[in-house]
């Protein structure tokens, strides 16, 4: 019993690894994609928006397979590291989703905020980072929270390319006639998402001091 729990915990460690690393990379990459999708330079804007459309319009499960097999098939450099392939697919996928949330948030800020900064002699970068950004963060925190919780559950998809995440390791016990471990994996997700919900609530309360 204790052994089973140890195995499950180490499996969930893989889920958490995917979760943390994906967030750490997709949050900034998403902002880069947002700037691409909002630039005045049309070719870049067009390419970025098509890219986002493709990533959001196809299953993450399929993207995992593509990242795992495409380098080998196209360039003769097989992707051996399954965790690496998982992270590449997850980061790209989530950065695309985040970028659309960021864009919605940025576009929802009234132009008066930009103009007020501009007439006070601020540079475009100052207006973005000192005036607009925190207002955007406040506005998008609820939608980002939803995405983050979805990400926790999506990490289980990595099993399709052979990452030994929690559901994959738990399923092995069913072959020994044990169904309990598989069902119990839900508790790990529930518990972690409960903690995340608390953390997200805390972040939202931290920005309660102003209205935007």
């Amino acid at each position: 019993m204790l052994d089973i729990i140890k195995v499950l915990i180490s499996g969930f460690g893989e889920n958490l690894r995917i979760f943390v690393l994906t967030l750490a990379m997709a949050i900034p990459l998403g902002l880069v994609i947002t700037f691409g999708s909002m630039t005045k330079f049309r070719p870049i804007r067009w390419i970025t928006r098509v890219f986002v459309w493709v990533i959001r319009g196809t299953p993450l499960m399929l993207q995992l397979f593509v990242v795992l097999y495409a380098p080998g098939l196209l360039f003769g450099i097989p992707m051996r590291n399954r965790m690496m392939a998982t992270l590449v697919a997850f980061v790209i996928n989530y950065a695309a989703y985040f970028s659309e949330i960021y864009r919605g948030g940025i576009e929802s800020i009234p132009t008066g905020q930009y103009e007020a900064g501009a007439v006070l002699g601020m540079t475009r970068a100052q207006i973005f980072f000192k005036v607009v950004l925190l207002q955007v963060v406040k506005r998008i925190t609820p939608s980002m929270g939803n995405e983050v919780i979805t990400l926790v559950k999506d990490t289980a998809l990595s099993r399709v390319i052979g990452v030994a995440e929690i559901i994959m390791v738990a399923e092995r016990y069913t072959k020994q006639g044990l169904i309990g471990p598989l069902f119990s994996t839900g508790l790990y997700f529930l518990l972690f998402n409960g903690l995340l919900t608390l953390a997200l609530g805390w972040i939202e309360r931290r920005m309660d001091y102003f209205r935007a």
Partner: protein, 261 residues
């Protein structure tokens, strides 16, 4: 010499000509009221002065220096644009305070950011920032809001927000302060406090351009009044002439709406 000279300014949005050959000048210490019905181009004119719109024709001089000329508008560098627009301040109809900053922070933010560009900023950082903060406190006091310095915009009434916005615009010490209907977004009982602040500025000979529908106020405060209609200046002169004895039929018709109502 006039502090501001606007020459033959023109601006179109697509096929609509919003400003047609606007020329006027302003002396240092003068307050100019701009009146006119909605859609006559008043806001667009102020936005052109503040580089929020680029005029298609004409030029703008401040203290004799050409700071805008439509003939070579595309060639102005970003740095020049930022420096030139600091000749002007703008108080918006809708305040546009920064919601995540307190009243005090709203007033000092731009000054703090600009100070970083001073060559001696690193060496004298504390003294420079102290000076900016001292000035910010004085400005909040001058608009009667010392007690609200640490309040966020959503904790202030519309009239208080607009007074903070005025202090914020004054903080960079512009040569010419522009107001775009500063009381139009306010409940009637809150307009007085804002108008009083502007009156006090006029009494201290602040150079101002005030777009307003408050005729009584314009008559008291303005040195000159400019009536605009459909993108042209119809009448210009002393308030007692333009408001009390308009020569033009269009001015008379416009003013009737105020005296009757």
């Amino acid at each position: 010499m006039a502090i501001l000279e606007v020459n033959n300014l023109g601006k179109s949005f697509g096929a609509t000509e919003v400003l047609k050959d606007i020329s006027f000048s302003l002396e240092k210490g003068e307050s100019l009221a701009i009146i006119g019905s909605s859609g006559s181009g008043k806001t667009t004119l102020l936005r052109c002065l503040n580089y929020l719109e680029t005029p298609d024709r004409g030029s703008i001089r401040v203290n004799g220096e050409v700071i805008f000329d439509a003939a070579n508008a595309g060639r102005m560098s970003v740095a020049d644009l930022r420096r030139n627009r600091l000749h002007f301040g703008l108080v918006f109809q809708s305040f546009n305070l920064f919601p995540q900053y307190t009243a005090f922070q709203n007033v000092v933010l731009a000054g703090e950011l600009l100070a970083r560009e001073q060559p001696d900023y690193k060496a004298n950082k504390k003294r420079i920032l102290d000076g900016i903060h001292e000035n910010g406190r004085k400005l909040l006091a001058s608009v009667g809001l010392s007690a609200k310095a640490d309040n966020y915009p959503h904790q202030l009434s519309g009239g208080q927000q607009q007074r903070v916005a005025i202090a914020r615009a004054l903080a960079l010490n512009p040569d010419i302060l522009c107001f775009d209907e500063p009381t139009s977004a306010l409940d009637p009982e809150l307009t007085g406090e804002v108008l009083n602040v502007i009156r006090a500025l006029a009494a201290r000979s602040t150079t101002m351009i005030i777009v307003t529908h408050e005729m009584q106020f314009a008559r008291q405060v303005a040195d000159n009044v400019l009536f605009m209609d459909k993108g042209v200046i119809v009448e210009y002169g002393k308030p007692e002439d333009v408001i009390d004895n308009p020569k033009q039929e269009r001015t008379r018709r416009f003013l009737e709406n105020y005296t009757n109502g």
